[in-house]
Symmetry: C2
Subunit: 361 residues, 2 copies
């Protein structure tokens, strides 16, 4: 049963630069079928939430640049539910915008905020966890986050430490949020058993997150609070255009969740990956006998092992003697790099920008 006060805001404004050269500023990762499933990531995310949230209550928060792409990829979404940020300002202003907007629309709105571009394999477990979360936040002044039970000492994720005693079935109070750790620390986190991966999926009533903005980001609160009357009216765009340049660039984690007292977590397992890098795509793709993950046609490998190969067209790709590499070929760009070096792709892009210019980003 879909409850009328339940909402989801799907965050779709990122540029997915670590998935270059497939993910591009003009058409980033969330709008692509990275794993060859037949759906783009945002389409999968939309369909996943549409199982338990009314379509009228699904909102996409993105840039004006991507408005038409969203409309084209999600024809079942009401166009008024595409909420466009005038500029990229990290997650706190983005969460504030959609929360104040929904609060004005529905004072009892109970909201999930989730990224558009994550992979979730077990939709049933995910739905169950979300419903459990929404039921908890409906009744409690709680800022709730979904934490992923970790299965390896991943250094690409932030971690959440939680109290060992549950406050309600499978819901725990959060002790601390941590930044991405180094490998040694990540190993310690895993073996301690009280750390989870921070998936960046949040659940709360809009009135409660607004209370938190008022307390922890009072300047941002003042800006959005003053614009409440303009929300969901023709004047909304004008008001937001004025507010955004004045907002600080800060994440919701750093700005509020790390400071608030009423933060809870549900330790979860639903086959999640943030699909942040080619390496995480590699982990989630089927491998051949030599542990190569190949997405694309006409790829022929000799003496090659544990590579991630992605080809977006009919081109023939012949690889020999490669081990642990990422090979991604598109119409206008080719990336060949060691898999363990993928975190450096952003630096490489800076180099491309310096040497060649913006057009390949």
């Amino acid at each position: 049963m879909k409850k009328k006060n339940n909402y989801v805001a799907i965050m779709a404004g990122g540029i997915g630069s670590r998935f270059w050269p497939v993910s591009r500023v003009d058409l980033p990762k969330q709008f692509l079928d990275i794993l060859g499933t037949g759906k783009t990531l945002i389409q999968s995310t939309f369909d996943r939430f549409a199982q338990f949230i009314e379509k009228e209550n699904i909102y996409i928060v993105t840039s004006f640049q991507y408005k038409e792409i969203v409309a084209a990829q999600l024809p079942d979404l009401p166009v008024k539910n595409i909420v466009c940020e005038p500029s990229r300002k990290n997650t706190a202003p983005c969460v504030a915008y959609i929360s104040y907007k929904l609060q004005q629309l529905d004072p009892k709105s109970n909201l999930i905020c989730a990224p558009a571009d994550h992979l979730i394999l077990d939709d049933i477990a995910f739905t169950k966890t979300c419903i459990e979360a929404l039921e908890f936040t409906e009744k409690n002044n709680a800022l709730l986050t979904l934490g992923i039970k970790p299965f390896q000492p991943n250094t690409g994720y932030g971690y959440i430490q939680y109290e060992q005693e549950a406050v309600n079935d499978n819901i725990y109070k959060v002790k601390t949020f941590t930044e991405k750790p180094d490998l040694e620390l990540a190993k310690t986190f895993i073996s301690s058993g009280d750390f989870l991966w921070n998936a960046g999926i949040f659940v709360w009533q809009t009135k409660n997150i607004i209370t938190a903005f008022e307390k922890y980001l009072p300047e941002m609160h003042e800006l959005f609070d003053a614009a409440r009357k303009a929300m969901n009216k023709d004047s909304e765009k004008e008001a937001i255009d004025l507010i955004y340049p004045l907002c600080v660039n800060i994440s919701i984690d750093y700005g509020i969740l790390e400071k608030a007292e009423n933060v809870y977590v549900i330790p979860s397992s639903f086959g999640w990956s943030d699909l942040g890098t080619w390496g995480s795509a590699y982990e989630n793709l089927e491998k051949d006998y030599h542990e190569n993950a190949v997405a694309g046609h006409n790829v022929i490998l000799f003496d090659s092992f544990k590579n991630m190969v992605h080809s977006s067209n009919e081109k023939v790709i012949l690889l020999q003697g490669l081990e642990d590499f990422i090979v991604v070929d598109t119409e206008d760009a080719l990336l060949v790099c060691k898999k363990d070096n993928e975190q450096a792709i952003k630096e490489y892009l800076a180099e491309i920008k310096r040497n060649i210019g913006d057009k390949f980003l």
Copy 2:
């Protein structure tokens, strides 16, 4: 001074498969500017010979398939000088065709046979060597070959062993021709000092090579001898179309030179490479500080050493963590393979043919 009886036949029928994916059956290596000099290999070869051979005496022997490409790339060449073989039959029938044809045209014709797709850096030394060769063959019943003084134990070339006593200035009698050796044998050849690389550049009077055909390949001689009257007439094509299917597929080296008694060699140095492989292109290209040879724009390398990179368009190519690789990117094919494995490219192409089909060859 250009002598009226001196001719050159530039052999341009090969498909250069080891230069895949740049060299393709439809447009092989000899018609490409592999090293980025501003001229295709056949244009360079033509210009080199035009310095000391009358243009009217320069002949291109190729396939019908490439006739229009030759005409387009060599506008100064008389069109009647493009001699087309009806099928690929190795070098002996090719040499026979042009030799019997020129003998019919000019009984005193003194002919150089040379591949279209080799690299020669020192045109002055090359011209000097050729003139010396032509002067010798003009006066002697000699089958002369240009041997290259080797500077490394290359296993990709055949070798020529020669007598240590000159018969005439810098001209020596050949003892033996050898097949491509293994590395140990190649090292022995180099240290012995009496071996040269077989460059496949031959000089002789047509009447003398015809005498050799009569003696060592009598069946082939009979075929071409019977067609003499048709040569250089409208009936030539018809006669050749009948002869070719009856010719054995044999090289001029194996069919005649290894058996004949009157074979001579000039030990030469004119910056020669057969440009048979990407590795030989690597040797002949300028390297960057990390010994990478890069032909193409928009190529960015990180932590990469001793690679041969070739890009045929404006695509951005970002490589990291590669050492001793060949990376060649074209519109419809990408090759990444270890440099020391390039001799296997023919096997890879067979695999592509089996798995994907002919269109990428």
